[in-house]
Point group: D2
Chain length 348, copies 4
């Protein structure tokens, strides 16, 4: 019953096999390996983007920070949701990599709305040289609350950004989960909707530690490469990043794993919804859900070894009926037995 | 015949096996995994340093830059050799991570000498607030030219640094090769000699991509952790870093691999030394050598598919007798047949 | 009728005279001038702070950014009002000088309240290494909306900061105006209330371009000096900064000018309050006021050459009765005739 | 007998008068003042550069750092002399403002030579993404050793830079002294020779604290403005910078002051050259000289209150005949009596 995070699950066996297969003799370092050449071709085809520049790094924070640094200037501000990973969970990495750009928080929900984005952009209007300049818009899909933007919603936000000439970054740490949730194609969810740079997540979806950055306009590709090296994110034994990502794409493994994770979450949600007194804080649309039930229920789970984050409230407390909110995340390896057992424990 | 770099060789099978073994179900992320706890204990024992703070990152540049950032202030200068990796091969990563500290180049050889170090430190003396302030001394062992400092030589440099109250960093991307070359113990080569922070390399010596940073004084451990996260170098699936490094240390695999690499280089050097007209630019003391022979010899090697860097000169050129210098690096997997064939091709 | 800003008014004649007097032969550069020695003594006496470290720079943004950089680490966040000058009007200078720290906006008004501050600090609680760490609290007095904190209010905010071990910075670009508005002494408004570093403004109150930074705890004085030099804010002909600030303090000129500015603003407010349909957006407590009246009134003022910022609304528009908000700032040189004429023009 | 630095001398009375004249009522802040408009016209005419972007800051370090930050990227290296002010005397300000660019020291003398510059640029050739990228070439004229580049020499260096597509910065903290020493026009010494950005000094030559930055290609003008504001170098009461610089240019006051300073230095050099045993370390070509004479001579000067820097050696020491080197700088206000008295004291 492990629902703490999709980053604590195992690597898919096919990915492990690909790593072993890649470990054969010598290979050119630093991204000049044959596997990377193959990956570049596949990625471009997958995204219907024959010109796209494609790079691999090992952490999502690196992908986001390097992408934003490449899209922005240090005297600008990045527009994002108040719960964006880049704002809340990266210990100022975006500020570091951009050389001190600011993050402007848009609206008050996990999903940005076009009106709120426009208002935030407009609010940075009138100070000339005194205020920060308008910079990239960064959207997270799947959001940090488990909801999902459709490609059309991404497009509506990007349209606002484009009106002001601002580039658009998509933090797709759970990009696969968003795609299978919406049915959009990779191209529809990105450049066709107006996205300029994508953090294409792998680590939360069955890889060991690889994320791609895709620059749909390759004009700043060389700058990105320099920033990646300067950030110490260029791997010498790069073939082991390439191998993971190639295995990820092969035969649609990435979508298969995302489907499994989303389905596991759906099963969990269905089970919990049938219980009286369980309520959801956000509409669970991918592989993450936030639900509240009584302290007594949480205690039963805790004692049975279930793992998840208590998002609001504490296990300690006198009132067994007080509602505490849990965050649960399913990865590709979640199994039905665990889920059903979890739901049964909540039921009591 | 692959002598381009020890970072282009394969991962040791025992390390691959450890990765597979680590891929079992869920594990706590971000360094809270059980394997990391075990590694911490082993490392502290190995270094006879029960208080040391130990962290893992995936690239040598990350290890160096984060260590230096933790040891320095942005208005300081780092003292290093003019051919130090931190100066020549990290695309300004140390400047980036330190927030704009300077690098002061000491002397004109790959090995710093105590006199030259003292002179460089003294030269930063008299400008008060105007000049950069004196910061850490960074030593590379094995050096970038394949020579090795003894523990006593490290101690002599550190003694100069300590006179001025400066911390000492050791870039040990090839630390294992230096140890087996000198017979020093890990403690003798580091904190007993006055080293405050060590970049403990693994990637060039049979790992997939892991380096440890060891802070012998843990006072700045938390700062290091924050800098690592801010630099986007904290891995969620950290167990796969831990597993590699544990396998590395188990039964002395790390020293065994370094011995193999050094021995392979020694065989190569012996073979080349017997050839008339071959001269060495630096005394090869570990797993790297720089030697010169005729363009004709290089052409034969090139046509036979041998891989190494031409350090001085170009294959193109009219004079077949002109001397061109090669850099050759052996990793743990180098084999005698390749070496002997290489030597035979130089002989012609 | 110049009410655009207190930074567009003239320098007080006594300050000009002091500059001329200082221009006599040679003087030691970089703050080693005799005038600076005298100023240090006077400032320490004025603030009842014999240990305080005192530095001069030429802009308020420099004072704020250098003070915050000295009090913080790059992986921290600074707590401030959403309308703080450091957030809205310094083009990311605090982010630049701190090396990429974040600014966390507290509450939704120009004055921070202890409860909102506590909530903001608590909200940065639980993410360990992932979120930014808690850093300095920065308070602006006079606020950017013309309201004033009493010394007790500063003390209440600082008490919250101290509970969490956080340092406190006071942006006193209009410090003199706040003092004369509240009757507090310099010490009461600062270190006695828990302030660790003060930006002591002069430029908006009759100087040519000088601000002091006062570090009540001198432990980081040398670090501040290095950051000032590195920021290019150390003046070679420093005596001309010292001379201005000395003249400012002499015979209470600084308080006299602040009293004149506050009194001018009070006269303006009194006049406008008597007019039907004029409303104030914030309680004008120092030398700045925000008031709304009809577009027709604004047009009359504009045609008569009055200068001030339209804070909300535009002169263009069809409805002459629509309410538009003006921001008016009085400096020491504002005169009664202009004020009365201004009020008469609003009246129509 | 004040020869410590041209930054410790007085402001020219005409400049003081201009400041007083500028202090009349209200003026638009932040560079929108009428005086700045007039200055822009005059500067463009003076430099025969009708498109040039012209900005004022208050320190030479700010001018240099902002100009270099605008011309470079953080992953580049700036080529300069090993004794350049940007390297030795700015406490890492260029590294700070550029976001961590490196400085590559060219050759071993205070004047860069085209061959040494080419060699240094070539040396950064072959490392691809690993080494720093080639960035701006920064030339100092007058050099930090009192020697002067002719316009042709500047042109020869710039020609090398242009071959590699690198921009050229001229640190002209003593630009006026270089012009009067060589007879070149402002345009000949700058853009006609290939200079892209000029730090046009005023502070060392009779101003209170003003330097201009001239971008001959205005393409990056807006970026410069944002960097200036972000660096906290935009003055609200900007008219007092404008007024100084306007007075500086009026009727050639700036060249008149430089001529006086150079002439004073020449008189000093002539006097010292006639003394037996006095030798010059560099050819004094502007307003600065380095000369050696006996410790006994230095002691006499010291006791008589003469002020200058001992560049090599210490007053303390047993041997009265030991040669110690002095650095002497003359400003516009140096007088013949002091100089002659100084020479007489050296003679003994």
């Amino acid at each position: 019953m492990h629902f703490a995070s999709d980053n604590s699950g195992p690597v898919h066996p096919k990915v492990m096999a690909a790593l072993t297969a890649a470990n054969d003799g010598y290979a050119m370092p630093y991204g000049a390996d044959d596997l990377m050449n193959a990956l570049r071709r596949q990625m471009r085809e997958l995204f219907e983007a024959p010109e796209a520049a494609i790079y691999l790094v090992a952490t999502g924070t690196a992908a986001n920070s390097l992408a934003l640094a490449t899209l922005s200037q240090p005297f600008e501000t990045v527009f994002c949701s108040p719960v964006a990973h880049i704002h809340e969970d990266e210990c100022n990495a975006p500020e570091f990599y951009t050389g001190g750009a600011k993050l402007t928080l848009v609206g008050d929900s996990e999903k940005m709305l076009p009106g709120a984005l426009r208002a935030a952009i407009e609010a940075e209007e009138s100070r000339g040289v005194h205020g920060p300049q308008r910079g990239p818009v960064s959207i997270t899909n799947v959001t940090e609350r488990g909801t999902v933007y459709t490609a059309a919603e991404i497009g509506a936000l990007a349209a606002v950004a484009k009106e002001y000439g601002l580039p658009v970054h998509l933090d797709g740490a759970r990009f696969a989960n968003a795609l299978v949730a919406t049915g959009a194609s990779p191209a529809e969810m990105t450049w066709k909707a107006g996205v300029d740079a994508l953090s294409f997540g792998g680590t939360k979806n069955g890889l060991m530690g690889v994320e791609a950055v895709i620059l749909f306009d390759p004009a700043k590709a060389w700058e990105f490469e320099l920033r990646r090296k300067r950030g110490a994110h260029l791997f010498s034994k790069h073939r082991f990043l390439s191998a993971q990502m190639l295995a990820y794409l092969e035969d649609g493994l990435w979508l298969e794993m995302a489907r499994a994770a989303n389905a596991a979450n759906a099963r969990l949600v269905r089970g919990l919804r049938q219980l009286p007194g369980v309520s959801f804080a956000h509409e669970p649309q991918a592989n993450m859900s936030f639900a509240g039930w009584s302290r007594a229920g949480h205690r039963r789970l805790h004692e049975a070894g279930a793992q998840y984050y208590l998002w609001a409230g504490h296990l300690e407390g006198n009132d067994p009926d007080e509602m505490l909110t849990a965050r649960m995340v399913c990865d590709w390896s979640a199994n039905d037995e665990d889920i059903d057992r979890f739901v049964a424990l909540v039921r009591g």
